[in-house]
């Protein structure tokens, strides 16, 4: 589904990604871990199409097509979703209005009519229930005055509504207490299918107790320096990152 090959990216002359190669297939969950500043968030932004980054080398393919020249919205229309570490507050635009616009723009790009209001509302209600979101939520301004937990839950709510093929969860666990973490993780697990894939970007192993990865990759200095199974995450939790950094520096 997603094929990244030797991807190198920089921003304002600083090299952030220095050669990433990653294959993600339908049905898989990949976790990307790594110390601060290793390039995790950059990788997710670059996949989603953030234009401030300059791609210096390598390729990104999604379902067999290069997406390097696509705008963020075109990538979204193809089924790529990025859950933000810091969702943006947009006063005056309600959650429901935002979702309606977002969903119908994606439908438009696929040549579909806008979703009838009744169906849309029904779908919202279903997904809200799944994520234990209260009723009044829809009419609130997008992320404005939301607690950390509400913001993250809202991200997963949007993901549930948009039903992406590839979901990238960037530090979705940061700022969540244990209950919110459980709800968010449950949501993600319920949305998993054999046809879609998830990339979980995280600092801590904690989230991976709930969203169990098939593969774990460690990012350091803009490169994947080690890949393994979920046991690698446990090992990192126990021993920290230093041993991997040493190992990679010896190579």
């Amino acid at each position: 589904m997603l094929k990244i090959n030797n991807l190198k990216a920089s921003i304002e002359g600083n090299k952030i990604l220095t050669g990433i190669t990653l294959d993600v297939n339908p049905g898989e969950v990949h976790a990307i871990m790594g110390p601060n500043g290793s390039g995790k968030s950059t990788l997710s932004s670059v996949i989603a199409g953030r234009e401030e980054y300059e791609i210096e080398d390598g390729s990104i393919e999604f379902n067999g097509e290069s997406i390097m020249d696509l705008s963020p919205e075109e990538r979204a229309h193809k089924g790529i979703f990025l859950s933000f570490q810091y969702p943006i507050e947009i006063p005056g635009v309600s959650v429901s209005n935002f979702l309606k616009t977002s969903l119908n723009e994606s439908r438009k790009a696929q040549g579909l009519e806008p979703m009838p209001a009744g169906d849309l509302l029904k779908k919202m209600r279903e997904k809200m229930e799944l994520l234990e979101i209260k009723k009044g939520f829809l009419s609130r301004s997008l992320n404005q005055g939301f607690s950390g937990g509400e913001k993250k839950r809202n991200e997963i709510f949007q993901m549930a509504m948009l039903e992406p093929k590839l979901a990238i969860l960037d530090e979705t666990d940061s700022g969540l207490d244990i209950d919110a973490l459980r709800i968010v993780a449950n949501g993600v697990n319920m949305l998993k299918s054999k046809d879609n894939a998830t990339i979980v970007i995280t600092h801590y192993q904690r989230l991976l107790d709930y969203i169990v990865p098939d593969f774990v990759h460690v990012l350091y200095n803009g490169k994947i320096v080690k890949s393994g199974t979920k046991d690698l995450a446990l090992e990192l939790e126990e021993k920290g990152y230093d041993w991997i950094i040493k190992e990679s520096e010896q190579l």
Binding site: P72, E73, A76, F81, I88, V93, N97, T101, Q158
Partner: protein, 432 residues
Amino acid sequence: MNLKDKLIQAYQEAENTLSFHQERKESIDRLEEFGFPTVKDEEWKYTNLLPIIKNEYALSAQESIVSKELLNEYILTQTETNIIVFVNGKLNRELSDIDAANATICSLSEAEKNHSAVVKKYWGKALPENPDSLVSLNTALSSEGVFIHVPKGTVVEKPIQIVYFSTNVSSDLFLQTRNLIVIEENAQVQVTERHQNIDQKEVFTNSVTEIFAHDNSLIDFYKIQNDKRNCSLIDNTWVKQGKNCTCTVDTFSFGGKFIRNNLSFILDGQHSESNMRGITLIGENQLVDHHTLVDHAVPNCQSNEMYKGIFDDNAKGVFNGKVMVRPDAQKTNAFQSNNNLLLTDSASIDTKPQLEIYADDVACSHGCTVGQLDDDALFYLRSRGIPYKEAQAMLMYAFANDVLSNVKIPELKQKINRIIAEKLGVQIYIEV
């Protein structure tokens, strides 16, 4: 003949037919002495009137008509309403539709005949002693406009919509419109006003509105400035407030090539509140200038000022917000903000807060910002599949939202929403 001389000549020709002879004479003398303001005047430093006044204008136009269908494009139709329509400076009775129980809504010339005591008592009385040349010009030459008188304890349930059309004129036209609005004690009213040219010719309107709000009254006044690109407007509005009254003037500026708003509140009674808000959204070759004044003359009043501007292409904005707190006006609360988005490198805004505070127990604040749309926010929206243009539009709605959310007539709010969507060239409709 230059415009000034032409105006003076027109005054001399009409002199004997006009009421308020003394006031008009003094006014035309002021215009003659001082002429039109130039960029050398501090108040006109950033706004050059010269290109507007060097044009050749007729000072009146023949009577003409406008269809009901066309009128409907420019008014709120779903709301129960009072409508008063002028075409080329003359009242149009067919299009006007007034049903306001105890209140009087009519043309100023009718009011001079039928309500002369009220007109005499108030006409020109909200203006400062030595008004500028444009206000003086209006005082000297204006003969028509709207008169609203809401008697004691009367609530005008339906908003009053004022529309000034110009159409079917044979040359470019310079109009002086004059509104007089008197709200007595414990009375309430909502008013909307727009000037709309539907002709190819250029129209320049120099308007004066005086609003007298007596004790415990409530008035919401909405100005919709979305005229054709060949139009210029100078809107001079004075609001004089008594005790315990709340007056709001919101100005939505989208159209025209040149708009200057001079909006002044005089707080003369304690425990009153003045609100002025604005959204400006303009582009190529457009200029909008907001000059506001709040004069806190007595203690215990509050003023709130919030102007938002979005400037595209080579649009030019000017904001000058003067707040005067006189020595007696203790316990004044005065808040002012002016926030601006510049969408291009060639758009500009000159913004200047001007606080003159002579009392020592007051809370006054002001803040102005000039910025661009937030890249992080744009990326966030686009990553959700919302195209660039729509994402930009959404952020502009969000930016302007605190002004729009205060509009108390739902249909007006929708209308302004639609104008914004149209201006931004997007299909999305954001309900706020």
